[in-house]
Symmetry: C2
Subunit: 127 residues, 2 copies
């Protein structure tokens, strides 16, 4: 079960510590650059579409199974599967975004809290 990078996020957000925890919490728009081999898979994706971008949260700690939600030490420990913590055995990020513009292999999408350089592994329509 090896993932292939199909795209990369190009964002003004440079570090996890400065990123909002969710797109709806003031995240910016970003570019999603689709890698050439996968570009054909974009056929039919249109401006205005709502899509789910699946990322690989490459800075996550994969050995964590319990966290304090929202990194708040006052919160009791919770299992990672009861939270959206990026720290988890498979650090997949789910981001529901709107396609704002399309320029060749690049999609402008947002709002999205993923940081610059985050690998993208899938794009799916919202159904």
């Amino acid at each position: 079960m090896d993932l292939r990078t199909i795209g990369v996020i190009r964002s003004e957000l440079r570090s996890r510590s400065h990123a909002p925890k969710q797109g709806s919490e003031g995240a910016p728009d970003a570019w999603l650059e689709v890698i050439a081999f996968a570009a054909e898979g974009l056929q039919g994706v249109d401006v205005g579409d709502e899509v789910i971008v699946i990322t690989w949260l490459h800075e996550a700690d994969r050995d964590v199974l319990r966290v304090r939600p929202r990194s708040d030490p006052r919160n009791p420990l919770a299992g990672v599967f009861a939270t959206r913590s990026p720290d988890r055995p498979n650090p997949l990020g789910l981001h529901t975004v709107t396609v704002r513009a399309i320029e060749g292999n690049r999609l402008r999408v947002g709002p999205i809290e993923a940081i610059d350089g985050t690998p993208v592994v899938d794009i799916k329509p919202v159904i």
Copy 2:
């Protein structure tokens, strides 16, 4: 970017050809058996919760970039990122389900169209 199996689907659905295309299209409930190493991550997941189960659609063709939606030859070709086809570079399945019951490391979830033996790679709360 290697995924670790954190669970397995145990379903009456035995083959992809007999499975509905979406959970909402008449899919049954199934058991999600969480592997022992990851069980601690379930703390705080409760009966009645809506969760997103992420699966690895192990029978998918990863070299496909365009498909005829819903496997209907009358439909024009579309890029896989504009469809929910399991055939795509990274065959991740997203399944929004309700937790019906919890027995130790096993969650009864549904409706879910994933077939018996499908690996599970993540569980996230719906937000």
